[in-house]
Symmetry: C2
Subunit: 374 residues, 2 copies
Amino acid sequence: MNFNFHMPTRVIMDEDCILKNSFVLKDIGHKALIVTGAKSAKKNGSLQDVTEALRKAGIDFVIYDKVMSNPTVNCVYEGAKYAKENLVDFVIGIGGGSPMDAAKAIALLAVQDKNKEELFSCSFENKVLPLVMVPTTAGTGSEVTPYSILTNDMAQTKTSISTPLIFPKLALLDPNYMKNLSLTVTVNTAMDALSHSIEGMLSVRSTTFSDMIATESIKRITQSLDKIQIGKGITSGSNITMDIREKLLYGSMLAGIVITHTGTSAVHSMGYSLTYFKNIDHGRANALLLPSFLRFVSKNEPLLVKRILLAMEMETTDEFETFFLHLLGEREKLTMDEIERFAGIAIQAKNIVNSRVVPDKEDIIQVYTRSLHL
Amino acid sequence: MNFNFHMPTRVIMDEDCILKNSFVLKDIGHKALIVTGAKSAKKNGSLQDVTEALRKAGIDFVIYDKVMSNPTVNCVYEGAKYAKENLVDFVIGIGGGSPMDAAKAIALLAVQDKNKEELFSCSFENKVLPLVMVPTTAGTGSEVTPYSILTNDMAQTKTSISTPLIFPKLALLDPNYMKNLSLTVTVNTAMDALSHSIEGMLSVRSTTFSDMIATESIKRITQSLDKIQIGKGITSGSNITMDIREKLLYGSMLAGIVITHTGTSAVHSMGYSLTYFKNIDHGRANALLLPSFLRFVSKNEPLLVKRILLAMEMETTDEFETFFLHLLGEREKLTMDEIERFAGIAIQAKNIVNSRVVPDKEDIIQVYTRSLHL
């Protein structure tokens, strides 16, 4: 039994946990840069809670609220410049994956001089501003990972920075901020988290420990998604109970711990082109590909796939596909030209070889075709 | 769903993991103090592996090998003096719970001036020497906890220092060092770990997350102990397979993560007197008390007890008791005078109130009586 476990982030999950734990922020720094998007953190109450907690703790702060979906490299350089100008000594990311991932890159670039070419090489000096994360969606798990995923226009895809330096010091999880998320965002982000845990189990780096966490995560998310399937009385995000919101947030955090140890695999590699070129939401992109990819894996690793299905209380890959098709509704379509091009990009991604059954280019084309050439 | 998770130690488990990871030690410090006991680390190969890894990494070291079982406060002051004299900048604990716990206290006292009265107050400045742990028994879980348990002659019991400062930076787990542990030590330490996970589930501080880990730990340890029950062909420690050794080491590390979050409970409070006054091994002391304590809890919390029994694949507290009685063999005896005295000490311990069903002094007397007044 070989394994490696390292996840140093302190995680606190509780309703109103930010205000209850304002004193904890005092130990982290004296002046914060809050990194967030233009709108959602203002609407869902998270920004107000954070600023109130900072005031209560006597901590000064400035706000950088220009993070877009799928943040670009330029955006994080701009944020880092703002951090330096304002002499902040820690960074708080509030939002979905985009602001949290941007916050991580900003915390690095605020104290390290790296040009755009060097940024993805992941060779950093041992310094970073401490990070606090407040997720406002339940999907990315970025609050407990050492990854920052940025849109890399040079490589025409999303590329990750991976270094233990950007493990957040503290993650504050309050399901209240998800109360008004739309049904679509809720489902897309939940499918992203589910994909993390499933891909974690399909990874060559999976361990007994990561599988235990992945199994628990898959159970929680599947049970929750099952309750919000179309036709079960839930017609909008506001119908979703706090109990489901909590389970999704817990499940996505667990999935973050999983990919911290296993990385993601071919599904993410293939999904990035759908987001980059077709503007398909990240979680949805994974979910579109997952059923066909699982079918591909099951040919070589049927027992491994059985374990995943068991956690979902399913028997077959058909059932698995039906589950996702219900959640996805009408699917996007790709031309064969697009598929050929995306497969060419995906096959070069570093997480392709992370899969226990490594697909070749032809396999990738088949998975894309079965999923999106309808 | 409220919870709090924090376990920043990097854990690497693998055969020969110390030599394979010597480069990791370079990032920790330049001169190490190795803290260990007089004999076992020399016999089981762990000390040699550590010194070889340090030499390979070009790290200087000195050795303090005077840690006795149930280390005293004097011992850790002596170790801290030695650390200061030798200007070490990190500490490596090798051994069972005793050397690891001593190493933690030494790492604190090497950089903080605290007298013996202040030591257990747990109010420290924010500084400590980094810690590396190499467990050579599978019981204490100290490699992943923020606790150091010392014999406190002033209070006539064992008392714990608890501070996140003493979370090890790195734990290196190699089951090879357990190969020649006697059957008695193997069983005693495994029962200690099992007690940690069970007490964790009985704690008011248990969470969904800690319960997941506790359940996995209880399963692994019970299955392993079941295989080394007397009469199943195993007559000495050397008959125990590496597979069982690995599961026990994994299970005890998980149990350490559990008590990091839940603390121990009344069983440990009661067990300390058995060790302090009757010289009964710590793990055995817990195991002697556990069946009667579980019976006591089951009156008020039958469903909670059912969950523990389920993880052990048992149906009743009778089965639970039979399992432990087989492992314990002939039990020690206490007089009613001793029981009265020990109950008086236990009722004052801080982890008594940690139990979901808090026993009063009369309950404690009954548990002692049922367990040891035979």
